[in-house]
Assembly symmetry: C2
Homo-oligomer: 345 residues x 2
DNA sequence: GGTCCCCATGTGACCGGTCACAATCCTGGC
DNA sequence: GCCAGGATTGTGACCGGTCACATGGGGACC
């Protein structure tokens, strides 16, 4: 058949129509599964579609119908475990509904840069999902024009949830609370905390869960050490904490920080969990294989991504509207890095 | 000013035209920076654009002009470090050229599922980048219709490179060669290898680089242990190797496998690097903080992603055409996990 | 046999841009 | 004062679909 070398224009519904001897509208009906098309006609059209290798242009569809069946995910990072997993969850859910998924990386938290990126994403049409775990993400979420359908993946829900722009989140407070109680229950006098940066000026959910557990137990409240996201910062924080012989339990804002802390303790010659217990957050894939393996709190990021998409889907299509949102339940995973404090002589 | 509650249709160039008292074509000229527009006119149009909050619809642009300025990345995974970094590199380069980036995950390597995913991606318009490090990716690359612009990120270039569908790759053979030579130079009799799955039936580049180094050194060639991608498989492979007292050096197909191997050796009571040396591949962010920190070969995945985009850009726009492709140079990073073999008594 | 309706199909306009070409304006040269 | 010709601007068609409505062809029913 058509094996001309040069790239030819892909077949349109009018080409198919001509080939099948019907009008373009009939072809449109066939692709959309409209009931009132005579079976013989449908057959002919399908044959023509097959022969010409016709594929409906998503672009034209979006333009003509308004519904674009696309989501753009705005995120500051694609390589960190948590972010990547959320993205994976979104993609999974989107694919099931045959939505296209776009990504935009917020490389800087600079006001203008963020605004530009939001504009780009908005131009793509369709809905938006903003991962607002960090300053760049939070700014982006704030910069989304009011008329755009958007769902935020946030650290903590603000006091006033807007029905038109829903949010999803995990119960970080509860997670930190559980982890801290676990460490306290092992007999530690108190638990130190290496924090991830808070996305907002307010105290992060993780910090407040940690603090609540300490208060309930009447334990002293040491000042949280401000970390960042990666192992390097955890390493620095760990060195600082290793100098204080009173420190016997450390909770870290994520598993990467915990990794750095473990390394620093090792370098300082303090054994884990013999002298110091360490717990992380997220249950990244490698955490189970560290030596010592890491006690951590597992969060369902993939599920979070799926939920975010489901909500957005509800905003975009009335029919798919769902309840404001199910919070996933964090799960404490106890491994080797936590144990009773050293016996005081 | 328009603060009517209901979502109103975004402004089109004709709305802007009316507001500015010019024709829609003039507006089009202004957005595209066409030279022959009188400054005063341009001014008026720009004012109208600003006032109406006009944003040019990417959809309409793509439909009317044919050029879609979009890339879709097909990949089997978004969470693994290598994949995620490539994606990040692609996004970075694409953003610089103001291209939109879409992703499609190949969840199964099943022929039909892969074909469906390719079709979806093709429907999005624009170019394709396929990460073909695994069976699903390889199948996807093969399933891309001939008329679609596509760039493959592959493990090893095949014998016959097609000028119309370029590839990028890292020099995995060289990387494995370097790592193996490093271990041999420390005095190990030979080096065992825990392999990542090969994307094709042929021997992988990493395997052949490893083998070449052994041959050149006249070292015995043990059978590679077939691993997979994650730490769990590395763990299993590590247990197996730990049973053989002759094993004193292990090269792993990636850092995740190496992590599992380290853990298995620890469990078996064999010290690293005292009794056994271990080296990985990729230099994942956590590898430097493991205990012992991991000797590995750093590969520039982000750069690979950028190169992939650059090539695709060249295919899509004549003007941006570039040379077939620069291979990034792998870099050996020696850390604690490798050292001389134990002294034989 | 005529009317009413539903089924199957076709026609024209439109979505928001671009492209090719026509029309108008302005300026310089003679 | 008139005409050529570049600078500006406008008009109509088109990209590949959808939507709203019009049209023709059978039964079913009276």
């Amino acid at each position: 058949m058509n094996v001309t070398g040069h790239t030819r224009r892909p077949a349109s519904i009018r080409d198919v129509a001509t080939a099948a001897g019907v009008s373009y509208q009939t072809v449109s009906r066939v692709i959309n599964g409209h009931p009132s098309v005579r079976p013989t006609t449908r057959e002919r059209v399908l044959a023509a579609i097959d022969e010409l290798g016709f594929r409906r242009s998503a672009t034209a569809l979006a333009l003509a119908s308004g519904r674009s069946r696309a989501v753009t995910v705005l995120t500051a990072n694609t390589t960190h475990y948590g972010y990547a997993s959320i993205l994976q969850g979104i993609e999974e859910a989107a694919r099931a509904e045959s939505y296209a998924v776009g990504i935009g990386v917020l490389e800087s938290a600079d006001e203008a840069a963020v605004a530009a990126e939001v504009r780009r994403a908005a131009g793509a049409g369709g809905g938006l999902i903003v991962i607002a775990y960090d300053p760049a993400g939070v700014k982006a979420l704030g910069a989304v024009p009011a008329e755009l359908p958007v769902v935020g993946v946030v650290e903590t829900p603000a006091s006033t949830p807007d029905p038109g722009r829903p949010w999803v989140w995990t119960d970080d407070r509860e997670a930190a609370y559980q982890a801290t109680r676990h460490l306290l229950s092992l007999g530690h006098e108190t638990v130190h905390y290496v924090a991830i940066p808070s996305s907002t000026r307010r105290t992060s959910a993780r910090t407040s869960g940690w603090r609540q557990a300490l208060r309930e137990a009447g334990a002293p409240e040491p000042r949280p050490v401000q970390g960042s996201w990666g192992p390097a910062e955890g390493h620095a924080a760990g060195h600082e904490l290793a100098r204080d012989p009173a420190v016997s339990a450390i909770l870290c804002g994520n598993d990467d920080l915990a990794l750095g802390v473990l390394r620093a303790l090792h370098e300082a010659g303090r054994s884990v969990p013999g002298e110091v217990s360490v717990a992380g957050f997220d249950d990244a894939p490698h955490s189970a294989y560290l030596t010592p393996s890491l006690t951590t709190v597992r969060l369902d990021f993939t599920g979070l991504g799926r939920a975010a998409f489901a909500l957005l889907h509800g905003v975009l299509e009335e029919a798919a509207r769902i309840a404001p949102h199910p919070v996933s339940v964090p799960e404490l995973v106890v491994r080797e890095s936590s144990g009773p404090p050293p016996a005081t002589t």
